[in-house]
């Protein structure tokens, strides 16, 4: 476990040292806060607009953190930094799990920071205290980082370095759009097979089936199970991969 945490720690440190992460958080807060100024455009629905903007931007911020994994792993493999680590008593699976955990923890913390900023702004503008259903919505989005990262790790193993981030971004879009794509039967084959059903983490879908804490917990557990499946597959592929 110490080996996994050592790799997770280095991944976490890398993301935290990227100045763009702080810029992203500040931009997201500014965009959420500025939603209150769109009362004319939103026809008096500025509160709903602010909620929607916060959920959307939190999803995008987490997706960007996750996509950074698809740069990080192939780059480390290509430049030889991974090779140095793997010549220590560190299994290949441990390396992958470490990378996965480091990214997930970072995505969760950044998601929580953005959500906290939103609740502060929401209270300042509308004077309303913490709304539980909104907290659940943000937690669902944060939990979606688990299967998203797992799919990013898997694609890092099977796709060429240049196209991995693009394909991952497209796959995440597909995965968030399952309720719409379900109308087209053949799409089920794609997301039903390899890609996670990230619509499970979509608050609007969840609201239709009376979202509650149990739903948030179930979605998180489902994400964890999918991640185990995706990481097992990644590990099997990585085991036979030649490392530069």
């Amino acid at each position: 476990m110490n080996e996994i945490m050592a790799i997770a720690g280095s991944t976490w440190r890398r993301i935290l040292r990227m100045k763009v992460v702080y810029f992203l958080i500040v931009c997201v807060w500014i965009l959420i806060g500025s939603a209150m100024n769109y009362d004319i455009l939103s026809l008096g629905e500025e509160k709903e607009l602010m909620i929607d903007v916060s959920l959307l931007l939190n999803t995008i911020a987490i997706a960007l953190i996750v996509i950074s994994v698809t740069f990080e792993i192939p780059r480390e493999l290509h430049e030889g930094a991974a090779a140095t680590m793997l010549t220590k008593p560190l299994g290949r699976t441990q390396y992958l799990v470490g990378k996965f955990l480091g990214s997930v923890i970072t995505a969760i913390i950044i998601g929580l920071i953005i959500a906290a900023g939103f609740f502060v702004l929401f209270y300042m503008v509308f004077g309303e205290p913490l709304i539980i259903s909104l907290l659940q919505a943000h937690l669902l989005i944060i939990a979606s980082s688990i299967p998203m990262t797992a799919i990013a790790v898997l694609f890092s193993m099977i796709l060429p370095e240049m196209i991995t981030p693009i394909i991952t971004a497209i796959a995440l879009w597909f995965s968030f759009s399952t309720s719409h794509l379900a109308k087209y039967g053949f799409m089920k084959i794609i997301y039903g097979g390899v890609l996670p059903d990230l619509d499970l983490f979509n608050f609007k879908s969840a609201a239709m089936i009376t979202a509650g804490w149990s739903y948030v917990a179930m979605a998180a557990v489902w994400g964890a199970i999918f991640s185990v499946f995706a990481l097992t597959l990644s590990s099997l592929i990585f085991r036979f991969k030649d490392i530069k």
Partner: protein, 312 residues
């Protein structure tokens, strides 16, 4: 205890994917046995398969055929890596980390107890003369500094076996000398060293065993003293015996004046000269010293490589 620190049996590597393989093997049926307590120099021209061999030994790539054992364990055994130090060719580390942080991660992976970690990290930083850069980011380091950090991480665990792939590349003459001293220190401490380099004069000074690889095949392997053949004599004439120098000078293939005023003459294998030197040694034993002169590693290396090229 296994007598060999490294052993390979028919180790072969053909690069490529499942459905597409290169026609020529990068490494072909390598059988290598490196005895304990040796400093082994692994030589060969570019593309000979040296780095491929090292990557196979470190389990970074998988063999197409054959097997390798390191310190008596199969090369894919993760635990055995705790007893190995490895410096890759042109090391590349995570540039966002500071030198201390990077070594700390390595120390954690090597299971160095947390109470000893800091002390050991500063010890190795001191050995490679990088203590003052402990809190600088690796991204800002020059190639020579990265090489030094690479050496530091390779000796962090006081390894039983140190595998160095082109360790002298990127270092200035001073740095090269320091690294040679480090290797000698490791040798004295009982570390087995597997050393791959293009700088033959350094290999000759450091190593006691060598192996020469060309086009993926081992040409020769063994103790340096056994491999290098005797090619003549080296006669050292003490100062004040210029008459001896004048007598032998015409037969010498090379001569040089020593700092103490004496002379050193080198002769090629010649029965007559040998006889004259033996007579002189009996007559004036204090005036000269002589010993057989051996072929140097560079000549031996080029002779081996040329013989393969002729065969091809």
């Amino acid at each position: 205890m296994e007598d060999f620190v490294i052993r390979t049996e028919n180790l072969t590597k053909v690069y490529g994917h499942l459905f597409w393989k290169k026609k020529e093997a990068s490494l072909e049926k390598l059988n290598l046995q490196i005895p304990r307590g040796s400093v082994f120099g692994f030589l060969g021209p570019n593309g000979a398969g040296k780095t491929t061999t090292i990557r196979l030994l470190m389990d970074l790539i998988k063999p197409s055929e054959g097997q390798a054992w390191v310190l008596g364990q199969p090369a894919d055994n993760v635990k055995v890596k705790q007893r190995i130090g490895y410096l890759p060719d042109g090391p590349s580390f995570s540039t966002y980390l500071k030198a201390y942080e990077f070594l700390n991660i390595c120390a954690k992976l090597l299971k160095i107890p947390s109470s000893e970690r800091k002390k050991r990290i500063y010890e190795v930083l001191d050995i490679v003369k990088m203590t003052e850069h402990a809190n600088s980011k690796l991204g800002g380091f020059s190639r020579g500094m990265i090489q030094r950090i690479g050496i530091a991480q390779s000796i962090l665990n006081k390894p039983e076996l140190l595998i160095l792939d082109e360790p002298l590349v990127g270092l200035d003459p001073h740095g090269r000398q320091e690294l040679k001293d480090i290797i000698n220190e490791q040798k004295k401490a009982g570390t087995n060293v597997f050393f791959c380099s293009h700088i033959l004069s350094d290999v000759e000074k450091i190593c006691d065993h060598v192996g020469i690889l060309s086009r993926g095949k081992m040409l020769c392997c063994g103790a340096l003293t056994d491999l290098l053949s005797e090619t003549g004599y080296r006669l050292v004439i003490k100062a004040g015996h210029d008459d001896i120098m004048q007598k032998f000078m015409p037969e010498a293939s090379s001569s040089s004046k020593l700092s103490d005023g004496g002379w050193e003459l080198v002769f090629k294998e010649n029965v007559e000269v040998k006889k004259s030197i033996d007579e002189l040694k009996r007559e004036k034993p204090d005036a000269i010293t002589y010993h057989p002169s051996k072929e140097n590693l560079e000549d031996f290396f080029f002779r081996q490589i040329a013989s393969t090229d002729k065969r091809i």
